[in-house]
Structure formats: C-alpha cells, structure tokens
Symmetry: C2
Subunit: 468 residues, 2 copies
C-alpha cells in the first residue's frame, strides 16, 4: 500500500501529543496515576522495541545449541544464563538443583523401505521420539499397519502382532486454535507406543504433529508403562508420511527396517536458573516470571522456549534500564526439564511451599515469541476482573484480551499464588517450528519477541505496584 500522508501525519501528531502526557509523581489522584502508568507502559514498549536486547541475548543463547535436559549443552547454557543474570546486576542470582532424566538420541536413526518393487531402499526422514528405547543393534524389520487413531487400531487388533504401527493422523488444520489441532493429534506420539504394544506391535512410526507441510520431523516425549513391553517409536516428516501412506496402498506387504541407538542414561544433575530484583517495600512478596530452559535436541529451542526465558529475564532488565524499582520482589525463573519430566517446575513448586516468602502471582511464556494476543489467567474471578481492568495499559504492547484459562506447566506447581498467568502470543505459526529443526533463532522476529517482553513487563509492573 502507499502512504496516505495526511492520515499518517494526523496519527503522528496524535502520537506525539499523547507521548507528551503527564509525568506526575507517585502520590497522585487516581486519574493522574492512570496517566503515570500509561507513561510507564509506553516507556517499557519503546525501550524494548528500540534496544532489541532480549532478541540479541536469544541469539547468544541459540549459538550454544539445543538444551535437552541432562545434555552437556544444557549445562553450558545454564552457566551462560547464570553469568548473564550476574552481568545484568540482578540483586540475587542462584542455581536451584534439579535431578533430570537424561535421554540421548544417539547417532543412528534409520527407517528404510524393504520388500518393495517400487521404492526398495528408500530412506524415510525420521527422528526417535524423546524417551524411546533403541532397537536391537541390527535393527528390526517388520510389516507396517497404518491406522489413523486408537479406535482403528483396536478394530484391527488381530493384525497388529509383529508389525510396526504407522499412526498417520494429521493435525486438523480446520481449527482456528492450533493448540486444539495439536491436542487432537498428539496422543499418537505420546501414547502410541503403549497402545500398539497392547496388541503385540514391535515398533511405532508417527506422523509429525505440525501445521507445516514439509519433511522436517517433529519430536516430543512419549510414555511407556511397566505392564507392557516397551517398543521403539519414531516420528516421520509430513511429506514422507504421505509417501509411506501411498506406498502402503500400492504395496501392503512392504516392510520397514528401523534402527535406533538412542538410550536413557541415569538421571543427571541439572538446575533451575533464578535471578531477582528485591522489592523495595515488600521484598517478601514474590512475583515469578519464567519459561522453561530445556528444549528438544533439534533446532535450538528458540521459540520453545529459549525466547520465553529471555523474555522473562528481559522483564527484570527492562526495569533496570528504565530505573523502575518494584515494590515487590520480581523473580525470573528458567525452569529445567519441562519437555520430558517437568522436574524443574516440581522442585520450584516444593520450594515455594516451604519458603516463608509469599508468592503473589506467576507468569509463564511458553507458546513461542510471536506477536502478542492476550493473557490467560487461572485465578478467582475478582482477580481476573482486576487484571482485565488493566487492558488499557497492556494495549500499549498489543495485548487485546485477558481471559480465564490455563497458565503454564511449570508455574502450575506454585499452588499458593493468587494468579497463575500464561502469556498468549499469536499461535498460527507455532506448530510450524515446535519440537523440530525449524525452531531456530532465524524464525524469531525481533519486534514480535520484544513486544512479548514488554507485555509481561507491564503486567508485572501492575501486579507489583497495584497488587491483586
């Protein structure tokens, strides 16, 4: 589009006039206070969008590599984060010990078509699902049975024995909310190995749960139960899933050779990384802002959830850059091991129960670093109404709504907090990159990420200064 100059000039004039608004002091009437909060909110947004400091910190973090729990790189990243919080001159910085599962992908991941006239030897693009057992060292070779879901599997249970089950259901793109689409398809990844093992399957191949039609496989976690044999499980790129499905229609007797050398090592020592600004009036009252610091071991966990952690860190750093001294303690927590154990969240939750500090509220950012939409609040309706009344301030960072809803997996263990809040950015692109090699620093947009930091900083400021 072309500029409509007059229109733009009017907007600019209004913005300039608006920007010159009241800078009144803290002790003031409600109306004046309102202007002061607007002013603070605008300064937060302006600073975040000008400096891109969180964005460049995320770039540093992503250069370390992915951060799967227990991995060497995750420990390197934890040291980096601790050092960074100290350099940023937070009032306290500490590591909270957490024992985490230590699963390792290994260097052999093969799925090759055999017993085929049409595509003998074709290699499929797969990843072991996190937590999978390995195959025997020379692999397994088996026929393949394709099903869409557990109901179809159950109907064909007589045919399952000795086969590899191919769960081929797609994420339902018709749904507006991609999290609902994801939720409707992901049980084949998390529980497919259990359901297939019930009827004697020897392995599982699962179509990637993704909104992007490329061939990049998306991993994630799975469950096993002790009462059933554990069988190896892999996820397959979207287009190779289409290929396999078509191939099976032409040649139902084809086989696949599956070979994995992933393994589970003993639990490893790891840490939540914690930094805080002490409250000037109520240091014993704590507002937590956080994300999870572990990621899957492909890509670099930029959106999931490096960006969420850095946004939380940036809330504190924005306060420092703008010389905002909060009344309550603002604590940034990088929770470890959300992806395959949630151990970091549990450890922090126990700490929150036992400490004499009082946890007022917690905010988690773990839905990607996309453009802001809203805040989802798990709290009493009176608290939600109060937070809703702050929307005019939050709109400076493009927050459009505050609604009752779930918050975040890690903070859900902070039982005593009056409000558990999830930051909700736009979701249309999230499952393009989620748990895959596509989740890179390059997929993060600086302004979108910084608006998330700013939105959380405004909310934390209000929680601290206004209370709930």
């Amino acid at each position: 589009m072309k500029t409509n100059f007059l229109f733009l000039m009017i907007i600019l004039a209004l913005i300039v006039l608006h920007g010159n608004g009241s800078q009144s002091m803290a002790q003031s009437s409600p109306t004046e206070l309102r202007e002061e909060i607007h002013d603070t909110a605008k300064r937060i947004v302006s600073k975040a969008l000008n400096d891109w400091k969180g964005y460049f910190l995320l770039e540093e973090l992503c250069k370390i590599g992915p951060r799967l729990s227990g991995s060497e790189k995750s420990l390197k990243a934890i040291k980096w984060a601790e050092q960074k919080m100290k350099e940023l001159d937070f009032d306290s910085v500490w590591l909270q010990p957490v024992m985490v599962p230590h699963w390792v992908r290994g260097n052999i991941e093969e799925a090759v078509i055999q017993n085929s006239q049409l595509c003998e030897g074709k290699s499929l693009n797969i990843l072991a699902i996190g937590g999978s057992i390995p195959t025997p060292s020379n692999g397994i070779i088996a026929h393949v049975l394709e099903v869409k879901n557990f109901e179809e599997l159950e109907k064909q249970k007589e045919e399952v024995k000795g086969k590899i089950i191919f769960f081929s259901r797609s994420l339902d793109q018709r749904l507006l909310n991609t999290f609902a689409g994801y939720g409707g398809a992901v049980n084949q990844r998390t529980r497919g190995a259990i359901e297939a093992a019930k009827y004697g399957a020897v392995g599982v191949i699962v179509r990637s749960v993704t909104t992007k039609y490329d061939n990049v496989p998306h991993t994630g976690s799975l469950s096993y139960v002790d009462t059933l044999p554990k069988i190896p499980a892999v996820t397959i790129g979207y287009t190779d899933a289409d290929f396999l499905s078509a191939a099976l229609k032409q040649e139902p007797d084809l086989k696949i050779k599956l070979r994995l050398n992933c393994k589970a090592l003993p639990d490893a020592q790891s840490y939540n990384v914690i930094g805080e600004l002490k409250g000037t009036e109520h240091p014993e009252e704590v507002i937590v802002v956080g994300g999870h610091f572990d990621s899957w071991d492909v890509g670099c966990g930029a959106h999931d959830d490096g960006a969420g952690c850095i946004q939380a860190l940036e809330v504190l750093d924005l306060f420092k850059r703008l010389d905002i001294k909060p009344k309550k303690t603002i604590r940034c927590v990088f929770f470890i091991n959300e992806e395959n154990g949630v151990r970091g969240g549990r450890v922090y939750g126990k700490y929150a129960e036992s400490t004499p500090e009082k946890h007022i509220a917690a905010i988690e950012s773990d839905r990607g670093a996309f453009t802001p939409r809203g805040f989802s609040v798990d709290a009493d309706s009176s608290v939600i109404d109060k937070i809703k009344s702050w929307l005019p301030y939050l709109k400076h960072a493009r927050i459009e709504w505050v609604e009752k809803g779930g918050s975040g997996v890690d903070i859900s263990f902070i039982k005593s907090a009056k409000a558990l809040i999830g930051y909700v950015p736009d979701d249309q692109r999230y499952f393009d990159v989620h748990h895959s090699a596509n989740d890179t620093f390059e997929s993060v947009h600086p302004r979108e990420m910084e608006l998330g930091s700013a939105a959380m900083a405004i909310l934390v400021y209000l929680l601290s200064e206004e209370g709930i």
Copy 2:
C-alpha cells in the same frame, strides 16, 4: 511447551460440542439467527483453513512475476486473473480500462564510492525510486551531504549546490504501530528529490524505510514538481546506509558516481479486473471487496498486494464453495496502479458515481497477509456501532476489534458507500518486506493469509445479509 492433556481434551470437547450447534432455518427468531450466523462464520473459517485455496492461487500469481503498472507481466497477470475468475464461475467477469503511468527501471543502477582512501570503488546496494528520472548516460559524480530530514537540509542549504543529498533517517522502531514509524520517515523518499532540488542538489540517496536491518533496498514512489529541476533519486539498503554514513564521517570529501537508465514511457493501457456474484434479492446493491493488483517491480508483490487481491477473490469463492447465495451483489475488484498513480481507484470511483447500482460498502485488504487483528471503518458512528456488534462472529477468524479509522486508498473514491472498511492484519512484519525483493510468496503464511480471507468473507456475509 508440552501438552497439558486434560486441558486440551476439555477444549476439544467444547469445540466439538460447539460445532454441533444449531443449523436452524433462515426464518427464525433473533437468537436462532445468531446461532445460524455463528455456524456460517465457523464454516467459512474451517473451509478457508482446510483448503488453502487462496494461498495456492497466490503462488500461481507470484510465479508470473512482479506487476508494475504498464509492464508486460502486469498485463499477463491481468489476463490470468480474468481467466481465473471465469474458471471459478463468477456470475460476471470484466476488465475495466484504465490508462496508467509506465515507468521502467532499466538495467543500469549503480552507486559507486569514489575519491576515497578507504573504500574506493565500493558499490552500494541501491534501487532507483519509482518515477525517478535517469542520470546522463555516463552518470553523475558528486560530493555527498548527509542530512536526517528537511529541517537539517534547510539549515545547510548553502552547502547543497552540486551535491548528492543523502537522507539517512531510519524508521522509528520505538513506535508500536509500524505504519506510524513508516509515516514518520517516508517523506524523504517521496519528497526528498523536490526538497533537495530547491537548493541545487544533483541527486538524492535515501535510506530504505524498513523495519529490517538487512541490505535489501526498499523502493516506492516519488514526486517531482514542474517548478524545480528533476533530479535522480535512489534508495539504499539499510546496512549500506550505515556504511555510507560512517564513511562520510571519516572522509567527508568522498564522492559517489550515480548511474541510472530508468525511464518514463507514455501512459499505457491497463485494466481493473472485476468479478461478481449477483445478489439474489438486491442485485442492484453492491458490496465491493478488493485490493490493488499492481506491485513494485522487485520481489513479486506477494504481501503488497497480491495477497489482498486473492483474499478478495477468495471471499466470493468461499461463498461458492459453501453454497452461500448472498442477497446483495458481492463484487471483487483488483484495482490497478495504486502504487504510482492510483488511476484504477479513480476510474472505479467515477464508475461508481455514474452507475445506477447502489454501493453499500467497500472493504480493502492492503496491509499484508498477516494474522488478523481488526477492521478500520470510515463511516457514521451508528454504522460503526452496528459493525462492532458483529465482533462475536468476526472472532471466529481472530478479529479482535472494529474501530473508526481509514480504509484503503483505492476504495476511498467510492464516495457513496455508507462504510469504507480497511482490513487490518498484524503489522509487525509488514515493513520488513514492503516494496522490496523480500516481498515473495515464501514470506506469506498460509493460515494467516486464509484467516484474512475468512475474516473478510464473514464481514461481507453480514453486510449482505444483515445490512447497515
């Protein structure tokens, strides 16, 4: 983030229950009607997100190439669009003749540093600004004076004569609204050549007006006035603008050789492309939905504004796919020449004044194919209130707000319409690609684009069935 299964299952159950809602008949009470409209809105969104038909049509269009007014490719695209509307079985399809300016870039675009100890011969990444005159065939060589704006230029007017003026102001990233940032910097591109010529400059180099810090120059249009000499004008990539600025600080005496062979040819024959579905009850009442079909001649005008046109076309095609027969006539207009003349909008505006048809409303999509945000409505407050009351339906396509504001350059000439409406997607990424080689099909996200089509389809449906 990891799935919180219980939470997701509850959401899914609610969605399924909600989706099985009333399918009541047209003659019904207000409450039932409301459910029926919700149902239609959901069917529109679901269809758009499932089929991605507009997205794949945009891919076809982008393969033709960029569509600068008067160019051979623009005529090829116009034929493609006419043919496509016929294949989609619209009730009427026609071309509306428009004479358009015909500026051609040429194959020589050089800006080379000279008279330098440090960077002699360095070539800068530039594009002629659309409408620029060429240089003499052997180029011009001149000293360079850097200024930030017209005020600085005026203060140094004694030093301007014989020089190339380098306008180096950046888009102000601190502003939340990137259109405000753009509006605050773009006059150096549109009017820089006039202001510099007042004081005897021989050429103009303008920092690209962009939110992205790469070296891809962003073009656009400029103005000349007959009372002043016309001087050649180019835009320079963001990082090369930084380079030039730093170089001038070290060596104020450096020169630049500028060489361009762009030219303005006589006005050319072109067309608006128009297709419509005839209203079943009020065929004489027309709702226009459109975008502009021309683009700049770099990239392929995917966001600006191929996507806007295809979204408009998809509104009609969604009605056909869902067997919705609108009461009023729905007309899709691809306006030509918005970028450097607005001739298509003017011709359609004159037609709208002279036809016995009654134009009820017009919607334009010309802010990119990003995730939906709102509708900006130029109308009486009673009309705006009515459209606001439709927000619960529009939310099915992620529309969050309806507000008073500007609409679109092309439809602004349809003076008799009761409502002129601009579709407003998220703006954070738009000026990364705007008017540059970055504006490619690959930069468009299928779900985000399709939600725009769906949002406009729901609004058009309401305008047609409910009236204003």
